[in-house]
C-alpha cells in the first residue's frame, strides 16, 4: 500500500508539475455530524470532483461544517484542520484523495528538479551517527518535512520584499517550549535562536524558503514554507527517541561559529548527567567547573571563579531568581535538582545587557516546563539523597506543572563516625514547583518557586540553618509578531541562623538575611531583517539584616547585638541592538545604565578625608531617616561583541564589556561558607567595576560535529574588597574599617575542543590564566605586599579538564572525568621574632606559596534498562568511583599549635577512591 501511494505521488507529481491550479468554483455546504460517505458524496455532487478514500480508515470521521461560497480546497482545509486526515486535490483530473496520517503531496519537493547550486540547497544530511528506534514511520517524518506550509494572507502573486515569520518551537510529545533551538534559512547564513519561551521571530524574503530547525536533544528537522505576508508558524520537534544515547544534536551546532556571543557555554542536562559526580547524583555546578576559564578554590565548595573573578561576582539565576547560596551540605551537593533542570548557560564574557549587578559572569539555570500532554515523573535513589519529580498538565495543552523535591538521609553516615562526632546531624531538602499557563496565543504566564533548606548540628552543640526562598511570576506578552515583552516580578530571600544552647548562660542565636524584591520588564523588537532590539528596565529593592545576635533559651545572659539593617534600590535601563551588517558580519552592541541608591534608615560614619578608615579617624556620624537617599552611585555599562565569518565553519569574534556590582560578599576565608556576610555599597564602600576584552577564534570541523575554539581575555577589576589582617566580619558594625579596596587584573588563554555526537563524545580543554590583585586604596592604612601585585586565592595558572563518555551499546556507556590544576596560592607563617615586647610571627608575602597540584579522575558506568519506548517504567543504574587514583589532594594547608609545638597539616577531602551507586526510575 505504501509503495502504491508513493508511485502515485511520483507519477502525479511528474504529470501535474505545470498543472497546479486548484478548483476555484465556489460551493456552499452544510454538514451536521456527517460521516465520511455523506461528506464525500455531498462534495462530489457540488464540486464535480471524485473522491478516493479508504472507508475503513474514515469510519470515525464526523464533520460539522457550514460554508457559503467557498472553494473545495477551503472547505476541506477547514474540515480536516488539526485532524489526522489529509487531502490532496488533483485538479487536472478532478480527483480528491483522502488519507489518514500521511499526506499526499501533489508536487515534488522543492529542489527535486532544481539542482542549480545556491538556489535551494539540498538539506545537509547530518552524519548518521545514531540508531533510531523510530524506523517504522520514516514516511511520516518525510511528509511533514516535505509539506509546503503557506504562511500569511495568501496572494496570487508574491510581492518582492521581506516579511516576518514568528512562532513557537515546541516538543511534540510534551508540548513544552524548546529554548535555544536554531532556525536557519537553507542556503543562507541567516538564522535565529528561539528564546527561553521557545519563541522566535525572523525576517526573511517573501516566497518559498526551507527552514532547518535544530534543537538541543531534538531531532533535526526542516520546514518548507511559502511566505506571503507576516505570519506565524509553530514548529513541533520530535525528541531523540533513544533517550539513553547521550547524543546531542545540538542547537549550538552552528552557534559555536555563527553566534555573536563569545565565551558562552551552554550545557543541557544530558551532558551534565554523564559527568561522574561525587555521590552519583548529577551536579550542575561541578560540571560547570570542568569548563574552560572556571576555577574553584577547593573541593568542598561550590563557589566558583570565572576568569579571575571572585566567587561573589557570579550572578546565579534559577529561572530569573537570584540564588545566593547554590550549595547544600557545604558544597557537597549543588542546590539545583538535576531532574528539573533543563539546561545551564554560563556567560563568561559577552554578558547580555539585560543582565547586571555582578561583574564576572552570569550562570543561568533554567528549569524544564512541565509536560503539557501527560503525567510523567522520575525518581532517584542514592547513598545520601533521594529525589522525586512529577509533572503533567493541569489543563491539557494549556497549563502544566512540574514539581521536584530532594531530601537527604545522611545521619546514618554520621552515626558511623567516632563517638566525638556521633551526635551530629546534617540534612537538607529542596523543592521546586513551576507552573506555566498559556492564556492565548499572545499571552503566557509562568510561575516558578524554589525553596531550599540546610540544617546541621555538630556534636549536639552549634546548629546551623540556612535557606533560599524564591518565587517569581512572569508574564510574556506578544504585542505583535515583531515585538514582545516579558514582565517579571518576584522575591528572593537568603537567610541563615546559627544557634547554640549547650551552655545555657551563653545560649545565642545569630540571624542573617537578604531580601530582595525584583521588578523588571524586558522587551525585544525585531526591526527589519538586520536589527534586533532588546531593551527594558529592572529594579531591585534590597533589604538586608546584616546580623543580629540574641539570647537563645531561658537563662541566657547574652546581650543582644544588632547590626543595623541596610536598604538599597538598584535600578537599570538598557538598550541593545544586534545588527547583522552583512551575512558574515554581526555586531551586538548594548548600553546598560545602572543606578544604585543606598537608602535609610541608617547611621553612617564619616571619616576624615584622605585618611585611613580606622576608628581613630571617625569624625562624626550622620543619621538618615527611612527611605532617605544616603548615597547614589551610577555607572554606564557597555556591552559590545562582534562576529565575522571567515568561511562557513570558521569565525572570529571579539567582545568588550564593562559591568558594575553593588553588593559584596564578605568572606576572608578561602572557602565560601554559608555564614558569609553580604554588604551593600555605602558611602564608605564603593561599587565594584569590571571590564573585559576578549577575542576568540571558532572553528567547527567534521561537518560541525567537533567544535574548537581559542579565546584570549584581559580583565580589570576595581574596588574589589580584600580584607585587613585579622578582619572581623560577622557582627561588625564598622565593616569598612576591616576591608581594603583592591584592584585586580586577570588574563588568560583558553583552548577548547568539544565533540557532541558519536559514540565518543565530551570535551577537553586547557586554560592558562593568571589573576592578580593589588591594594590600591589610599585610605586603607596598610599595604598588602608593599602595594605590589599578588596572586589571588584562586590563581591557578594551568588547568586541564577532560569529560568524556563512550557508548559501547545503547545500554552501556562509560564516563571518565579528569581534572588537573596548579595548586592554589597560600600565605605561610615562616618565622617568629621578638619585637616591641612580644613574640610575633613573620608571614610570607600574601599568597607567596602554593599547595601541591590538584589531580583527580572519576569514572562511572551507566547501565540503562531496555529501550522499549512504550513501557510503564524506564530504569537505569549509575555505578562509579570518584577520585579513582585516590590521590590525596590538598584542600588546604594550615598550622596548629599542639603542646607548644607548631605543626603544619595538610587537609585532604575525598582522599581515597569513593565508590557510589545510584538508581533512577522514570515513569
Amino acid at each position: 500500500m505504501k509503495k502504491i501511494y508513493l508511485s502515485i505521488i511520483l507519477l502525479l507529481a511528474v504529470k501535474l508539475l505545470s498543472a497546479q491550479n486548484l478548483p476555484t468554483k465556489a460551493i456552499s455546504v452544510n454538514f451536521q455530524n456527517a460521516n465520511a460517505e455523506q461528506f464525500a458524496h455531498e462534495l462530489e455532487l457540488k464540486s464535480g470532483y471524485h473522491f478516493y478514500y479508504d472507508p475503513e480508515k474514515f469510519d470515525s470521521l464526523k464533520v460539522t461544517l457550514q460554508a457559503t461560497d467557498k472553494t473545495l480546497d477551503d472547505i476541506l482545509n477547514v474540515a480536516f484542520h488539526n485532524t489526522i486526515y489529509h487531502y490532496a486535490i488533483v485538479s487536472a483530473k478532478k480527483q480528491v484523495f483522502l488519507t489518514t496520517g500521511r499526506e499526499i503531496r501533489t508536487q515534488v519537493a522543492p529542489g527535486y528538479f532544481n539542482n542549480k547550486p545556491g538556489a535551494v540547497q539540498p538539506i545537509a544530511v547530518a552524519p548518521v551517527t545514531e540508531f533510531t528506534d523510530d524506523v517504522k514511520q520514516p514516511v511520516i517524518e518525510a511528509t511533514i518535512e516535505n509539506k509546503l506550509y503557506e504562511v500569511g494572507v495568501k496572494t496570487s502573486t508574491i510581492k518582492p520584499g521581506n516579511s516576518t515569520l514568528s512562532g513557537y518551537v515546541k516538543d511534540s510529545k510534551s508540548g513544552s517550549a524548546i529554548a535555544g533551538a536554531s532556525i536557519t534559512v537553507a542556503g543562507t547564513k541567516a538564522g535565529v535562536i528561539t528564546d527561553q519561551f521557545g519563541y522566535y521571530t525572523m525576517v526573511l524574503p517573501r516566497g518559498r524558503e526551507v527552514l532547518n530547525i535544530r534543537g538541543l536533544g531534538m531531532k533535526d528537522t526542516r520546514r518548507q514554507i511559502i511566505l506571503y505576508t507576516d505570519g506565524d508558524l509553530n514548529i513541533e520537534l520530535l525528541q531523540q527517541v533513544t533517550r539513553l544515547k547521550e547524543v546531542k544534536v545540538s542547537g549550538d551546532k552552528v552557534a559555536n561559529v555563527r553566534g555573536v556571543e563569545l565565551s558562552v557555554s551552554k550545557l543541557d542536562i544530558k551532558s551534565i548527567k554523564q559527568v561522574p559526580a561525587v555521590f552519583g547524583e548529577a551536579d550542575v555546578l561541578r560540571v560547570i567547573l570542568t569548563l574552560p576559564g572556571v576555577q574553584t578554590v577547593g573541593e568542598a565548595t561550590t563557589g566558583f571563579n570565572v576568569r579571575g573573578g571572585a566567587a561573589d561576582q557570579n550572578l546565579i539565576l534559577l529561572n530569573d531568581a537570584t540564588i545566593y547560596n547554590p550549595a547544600h551540605f557545604f558544597g557537597f551537593f549543588s542546590a539545583f535538582n538535576p531532574d528539573i533542570v533543563k539546561d545551564v548557560e554560563l556567560y563568561k564574557s559577552s554578558i547580555p545587557e539585560k543582565f547586571g549587578g555582578r561583574i564576572s559572569s552570569v550562570l543561568e539555570v533554567t528549569d524544564r516546563e512541565g509536560n503539557k500532554k501527560l503525567f510523567t515523573g522520575s525518581a532517584g535513589i542514592g547513598l545520601l539523597t533521594s529525589r522525586l519529580n512529577i509533572e503533567g498538565p493541569i489543563v491539557k495543552d494549556k497549563t502544566s506543572f512540574i514539581f521536584g523535591g530532594r531530601t537527604s538521609y545522611s545521619d546514618w553516615l554520621l552515626n558511623l563516625l567516632p563517638e566525638a562526632y556521633k551526635h551530629s546531624h546534617a540534612s537538607f531538602y529542596d523543592l521546586n514547583l513551576d507552573i506555566s499557563h498559556q492564556i492565548d496565543k499572545n499571552n503566557n504566564i509562568y510561575l516558578t518557586t524554589y525553596l531550599s533548606n540546610d540544617n546541621f548540628r555538630l556534636n549536639s552543640d552549634t546548629t546551623y540553618n540556612y535557606s533560599n526562598k524564591n518565587a517569581n511570576i512572569k508574564w510574556k506578552h506578544n504585542f505583535s509578531n515583531k515585538f514582545f515583552g516579558v514582565f517579571t516580578t518576584g522575591v528572593d530571600r537568603y537567610s541563615y541562623d546559627i544557634s547554640s544552647a549547650q551552655v545555657p548562660v551563653d545560649g545565642y542565636k545569630l540571624n542573617f538575611a537578604i531580601n530582595q524584591t525584583n521588578l523588571k520588564a524586558d522587551f525585544t523588537y525585531y526591526l527589519g531583517s538586520q536589527h534586533t532590539l532588546d531593551f527594558g528596565f529592572s529594579s531591585i529593592y534590597y533589604s538586608l539584616n546584616p546580623g543580629d545576635e540574641e539570647p537563645f533559651g531561658s537563662g541566657s545572659l547574652v546581650v543582644p547585638d544588632v547590626v543595623p539593617g541596610e536598604h538599597a534600590l538598584e535600578s537599570a535601563i538598557y538598550l541593545g541592538d544586534k545588527y547583522d551588517v552583512t551575512p558574515d558580519l554581526s555586531i551586538s552592541a548594548g548600553l546598560r545604565f545602572s543606578i544604585f541608591n543606598y537608602l535609610g534608615a541608617h547611621t553612617v560614619d564619616n571619616y576624615a578625608p584622605n585618611l585611613p578608615r580606622i576608628p581613630a579617624n571617625v569624625v562624626d556620624s550622620t543619621t538618615y531617616g527611612a527611605n532617605k537617599v544616603i548615597k547614589t552611585y551610577n555607572h554606564p555599562e557597555i556591552r559590545i561583541s562582534a562576529r565575522y565569518n571567515i568561511n562557513d565553519d570558521l569565525s572570529v569574534k571579539a567582545g568588550y564589556n564593562t559591568l558594575a556590582q553593588y553588593i559584596h560578599q564578605l568572606s576572608n576565608s578561602t572557602a565560601i561558607s554559608p555564614i558569609d556576610v553580604y554588604k551593600l555599597s555605602d558611602p564608605n564602600i564603593k561599587p565594584q567595576f569590571g571590564s573585559q576584552v576578549s577575542l576568540g577564534l571558532f572553528k567547527n570541523v567534521q561537518a560541525n560535529t567537533i567544535e574548537t575554539s581559542v579565546e584570549v581575555y584581559y580583565k580589570r577589576i576595581n574596588n574589589y574588597l580584600d580584607y585587613k589582617s585579622s578582619a572581623v566580619l560577622l557582627l561588625n558594625q564598622h565593616i569598612e574599617q576591616d576591608v581594603l579596596s583592591t584592584e585586580g587584573k586577570a588574563y588568560g588563554v583558553e583552548f577548547s575542543l568539544r565533540k557532541n555526537t558519536g559514540k565518543l563524545n565530551g570535551w577537553i580543554n586547557y586554560t592558562y590564566s593568571r589573576t592578580f590583585l593589588r591594594q590600591d586604596d589610599p585610605n586603607a592604612g596598610e599595604l598588602i605586599n608593599k602595594g605590589a601585585w599578588y596572586p589571588a586565592n584562586y590563581d591557578k595558572p594551568h588547568s586541564f579538564n577532560f569529560a568524556g563518555n563512550y557508548r559501547f551499546t545503547h545500554r552501556y556507556s562509560v564516563s571518565l572525568n579528569v581534572t588537573y590544576s596548579t595548586g592554589r596560592p597560600i600565605t605561610l607563617p615562616i618565622a617568629e621574632y621578638y619585637s616591641l615586647g612580644s613574640e610575633r610571627v613573620l608571614y610570607s608575602d600574601r599568597n607567596a606559596y602554593r599547595i601541591p597540584d590538584y589531580f583527580r579522575s572519576d569514572f562511572s558506568l551507566n547501565i540503562d534498562g531496555n529501550h522499549k519506548v512504550h513501557q510503564r517504567f524506564h530504569n537505569s543504574w549509575t555505578i562509579g568511583v570518584y577520585n579513582l587514583t585516590g590521590r590525596q589532594n590538598a584542600y588546604s594547608t594550615f598550622f596548629q599549635e599542639q603542646g607548644g609545638i607548631i605543626n603544619g597539616y595538610q587537609l585532604s577531602i575525598f582522599a581515597r577512591p569513593i565508590p557510589f551507586i545510584n538508581y533512577n526510575i522514570r515513569f
Binding site: A300, F330, L414, L416, L417, S424, A426, L458, T462, A608, L611, A616, V618, S669, S673, I675, Y723, S725, S726, A727, G781, E782, L783, N785, I826, T827, L828, P829, I830, A831, E832, Y833, Y834, S835, L836, G837, S838, V841, L842, Y843, R846, A848, Y849, Y891, S892, T893, F894, F895, Q896, E897, G900, I902, N903, G904, Y905, Q906, L907, S908, I909, I914
Partner: protein, 387 residues
C-alpha cells in the same frame, strides 16, 4: 566559629589530615630583626636579633652580636654605637638636626650590610599631662598631649610600669652558710619589692582627622581593678614617640598581625614590610622600622589609698602557698627514726624560713621561696625615682 566549620569538613569519612612540613617553613629562616629608634637628645639603643623557625612555643630570642651599627646623617655625619650584651647597641647622647634625615647602617659579623631608609627627625612634643581615671573595668591610665606647630599627628607610646609588691609571708630570718639562721637586716628584707614590666602592646594614636594636633585622654594602659599592681603603690613611665604616617601604618599592621597561625578559615595575614633593607642582597627580608626623633616622657604614681575600697587584689601568683612547720629533730615515736627537717629542707634553700617555731618542737615556720622572697620577681632596692 570557623573552627566549627573546619570540624564539619573533617567529619566526612573521606577527609584526611596529614602532617606535612612545608619547605618554606623548615628552611633556615634567619632574618635580621631591628628594634629601637634613633633618639635625638638622649642615647640611642638599637637591639639586633634574628628570626627563628616556628617550632617551639616559648623560644629564646636570638641576639645578633658583634655587629657594627652606626647612625648616618644625610649630610655625612656618622655616629657609632657601642655593642652591649643581648644584642643591644648603644650610642652616646646625640643632638641631631631637624634639617637632616638620618638612617641606621648595620654591618653584621658575617660582613653583610644593611641600611634603613633615611627618615626625617620627628621630635615628640612634651606630654601635657599623664593622669588616671577610675572606670568600671579598672584603672585607666590616660594621656594628653598636643603639638602647637600642628606637625606631629601620629604618635606611639610605650611604657615601663613599676609597682610595689608584698610577699605572701614576711620573713624575719635568713639562712647563713647553709647551716644556721639569723634575723634579717633592713637591706635583707624580702617582703617589700618593686617589680618593673615593659609594655607589650603597641599603643598608637592619631590626630590626623582633627583640625588641631591634639591628643586627648588617650588610653595608654588599663589595669584591672583586682590587679596586684594596685595593691600598694603603682607608677608608670610613658614614653612618647612622634611618627611619620608610614611608620604609623606599619605599626598599625603589626598590631593587627596577631600571633595566630593560618588555619583554613582564618583571616588572611600578610607580610609586613619595614624600612630596612639589605644592601648586599636586596631580596633578603629585614624586619623592623626605624624612626628618628626626640622622645618625651612622663611619670605618675597611683597610691592604693586613692583607689576605691572595693578593689581587692587577687594574687594568683601566690596560689599554693602554705606555712610549713619544720623541726630541727623530728623523732618518729614508732620507729625512733629522727628526720632533721630544717637541715634537710630549709638550709639547702628548698624552703625559706619565716620565723622560729616552738610547738610541736623547736623548729622553723617556712614556706616555698616564691611565697616569701619577692626578689624572685623584683628588687627590694627602692628605685631612685620612687617617692
Amino acid at each position: 566559629m570557623r573552627q566549627v566549620i573546619f570540624l564539619l569538613v573533617l567529619i566526612f569519612l573521606m577527609s584526611c589530615k596529614k602532617l606535612i612540613s612545608p619547605p618554606a617553613i623548615n628552611a633556615p629562616n634567619n632574618y635580621l630583626v631591628v628594634n629601637g629608634s634613633i633618639v635625638s637628645g638622649d642615647s640611642t639603643i638599637i637591639n639586633l636579633s634574628r628570626t627563628f623557625n616556628i617550632t617551639t612555643g616559648a623560644a629564646q630570642p636570638k641576639p645578633e652580636l658583634n655587629a657594627t651599627v652606626t647612625i648616618e646623617g644625610s649630610q655625612g655625619q656618622s655616629y657609632a654605637l657601642t655593642p652591649k650584651n643581648n644584642g643591644n647597641y648603644v650610642s652616646a647622647a646625640l643632638n641631631l638636626s631637624a634639617a637632616q634625615t638620618y638612617r641606621l647602617k648595620i654591618t653584621t659579623s658575617n660582613g653583610k650590610q644593611y641600611a634603613s631608609d633615611f627618615v626625617p627627625l620627628k621630635n615628640a612634643p612634651p606630654v601635657d599631662s599623664l593622669g588616671y581615671a577610675i572606670t568600671a573595668n579598672g584603672l585607666q591610665i590616660n594621656l594628653n598631649t598636643h603639638d602647637a606647630t600642628n606637625s606631629t599627628h601620629y604618635y606611639r607610646w610605650d611604657y615601663a610600669e613599676t609597682y610595689q609588691v608584698h610577699s605572701e609571708y614576711n620573713s624575719r630570718l635568713i639562712v647563713i652558710d647553709k647551716d644556721t639562721t639569723r634575723l634579717r637586716t633592713a637591706d635583707e628584707e624580702i617582703y617589700n619589692c618593686w617589680v618593673t614590666n615593659l609594655s607589650n602592646d603597641i599603643i598608637l594614636g592619631s590626630s590626623a582627622k582633627l583640625s588641631n594636633d591634639v591628643i586627648s585622654r588617650q588610653q595608654v594602659a588599663l589595669i584591672p581593678s583586682n590587679s596586684e599592681k594596685l595593691m600598694v603603690k603603682y607608677s608608670i613611665l610613658v614614653k612618647q614617640y612622634a611618627l611619620t604616617s608610614d611608620a604609623y601604618n606599619y605599626y598599625t599592621l603589626l598590631k593587627k598581625n596577631t600571633e595566630q597561625l593560618g588555619s583554613i578559615f582564618d583571616a588572611q595575614p600578610s607580610a609586613l614590610t619595614g624600612n630596612i633593607h639589605s644592601l648586599s642582597n636586596p631580596s633578603e627580608p629585614v624586619i623592623g622600622y626605624v624612626t628618628a626623633g626626640a622622645i618625651t616622657q612622663s611619670r605618675i604614681f597611683v597610691d592604693n589609698g586613692s583607689l576605691p575600697g572595693g578593689w581587692v587584689a587577687y594574687r594568683p601568683y601566690y596560689n599554693g602557698c602554705y606555712i610549713f612547720r619544720e623541726l630541727y629533730d623530728d623523732v618518729d615515736p614508732s620507729t625512733g627514726y629522727d628526720t632533721r627537717e630544717v637541715q634537710l629542707y630549709v638550709y639547702p634553700g628548698f624552703e625559706t624560713p619565716i620565723d622560729t617555731l616552738n610547738y610541736p618542737g623547736p623548729g622553723l615556720k617556712t614556706s616555698k621561696p616564691y611565697c616569701v622572697d619577692c626578689t624572685l620577681r623584683g628588687t627590694n632596692k627602692q628605685p631612685a625615682f620612687w617617692k
